[in-house]
Symmetry: C2
Subunit: 339 residues, 2 copies
Amino acid sequence: MNKQPHVAIVGATGAVGIEMVKTLEKRRFPVGQLTLLASVRSVGRKIPFAGQDLVVQELTKDSFRGVDLALFSAGGGISREFAASAVAAGCVVVDNSSAFRQDLEVPLVIPEINAADIQAHKGIIANPNCTTAITLMALYPLHQAFGVKRIFAASYQAVSGTGAKALEELERQVEQIVHREPVTRQVYPHQIAFNVLPQVDAFLPSGYTKEEMKMENEGRRIMHHDSFRASVTCVRVPVYRSHSVAVSAEFERPVSLAAARTALERAPGLDVVDEPARQQYPMPLFTTEKYNCAVGRLRLDRALDNGLCFWVSGDQLLKGAALNAVQIAEELVKPPGAA
Amino acid sequence: MNKQPHVAIVGATGAVGIEMVKTLEKRRFPVGQLTLLASVRSVGRKIPFAGQDLVVQELTKDSFRGVDLALFSAGGGISREFAASAVAAGCVVVDNSSAFRQDLEVPLVIPEINAADIQAHKGIIANPNCTTAITLMALYPLHQAFGVKRIFAASYQAVSGTGAKALEELERQVEQIVHREPVTRQVYPHQIAFNVLPQVDAFLPSGYTKEEMKMENEGRRIMHHDSFRASVTCVRVPVYRSHSVAVSAEFERPVSLAAARTALERAPGLDVVDEPARQQYPMPLFTTEKYNCAVGRLRLDRALDNGLCFWVSGDQLLKGAALNAVQIAEELVKPPGAA
């Protein structure tokens, strides 16, 4: 790829798109030109990038002429409609939607785990689900050390994972409650302020939600581990940003706390925050706007023989979305042979 | 026991104590006389009961003369200091603290599960931990149907479980954030508004908290099931009232969804709220101030061979505390031989 590629962001005005623009700038990604694309209702909005105000343009099938790299984050429908046009125009697509994650022709990548898979791409590379990405950042180093068999997990997911309108909904509901006004809803089926909703994404006939199945389906592909099993409950909580996950993991081999800690401390993109005596553990308030995920509450699992319990938290707009996409882009522009 | 006992409430001005007074009145418990006891700083406060304003009196070792039944909810220290005096005065104590829950001389009771254990009391009956009680309301009927081996659980616990001051803390922090003021803390070690804290109660050397161990320790006693294992992560969430728990449970015998649903529908004190297509599932906002716990999100567990996933929510001030204590008291005043 061009060493200073022309980059397009599809869904530039969304919660993730805005973070993609910021992340490209903060990480000094070698942007040759940046094109911001969105639906017609956002056309004309200005978004700052590298000292300039870039004007959002309308996404069409002709938007990708001359574009080397497109970061998509506008939902699965837009990805299915426009990714092929981008690829046909010679563009490489990093797609943050779930549209291609189970397409075996499309690498599904967390660069700290399976960067090498990127090489096999045929124009599209998929970015994983946010909760899956954050969980795997802690689980994969443990898998390397002990060989994971299965996990039991429950998530605590922030509203910004649903998008900018959900963030506004929580803010609005809180203000309504503080001012003793009736609570209104537009995004979630139930009040999210001072409540928790045990539903993220749509239900499947099995009773699991699509979101809950992503952990196993995407985890298998990213870890190259076809027998990995995951039973997950995904829950929306009244937190603005950063997802957290409580995990019980069972391994093939005996687990020691010391070896687990060492494996996690050496893992890239992960901070071990685990000092119970000082009440230090990962929390969404403190992983917000951080690139690294944080893992803590490490303990040998009481109900598993080779098991470890842990708690991981990470910014789902960053490692769960924009950062991971930009990291994939960074791999794409690396000179051949670079580590 | 006297059919219209003289009842005392110890800790009458606390979050649970207030619910005890209300619950005695609402359930028309045959109160002969009601004495409200608290520490010296609450003396003189008036609390309405059955159309009168009762004046809070100071708790002393002489408070229990003539009292038949005392409901304690003022923390383990107060229970350890005063329960023996109450028993010596001829009073039966129902204790909501953790002080006696592991004392094999003291029955630990959820009336829907092990009411018969009450008969063996020697003056004190213990009320279980709130998260444990709410979880067991759904787990025990499943245990009867399939024989539970172990569970993996993660909790979503409301601030009122910590007490009235924690409720005020969440309210205050939300107002501070809405008014763009600095956030202050007095109760929790970290901001609870728009955050989640993966700590409830103190840490043990194992890395689990005391709260997390209650599920296994109390579950074994209440279900009379010494090999029951539970790996739990307890998490405080910015919800005012009602705890929720995500559970993966493994059983001895094969589980069918239909049989699980039937067992849960027949269970006393429990509502099955499980219509994913209509986005109906238990939530803390809707179990608040309800006597019954609610269970839903029923599904065969993907990562267990004989396993069921479920989600249970219940008012921890009621079934998790005041209601359960009053139900124990109701058993005590039943005429001998009554069902």
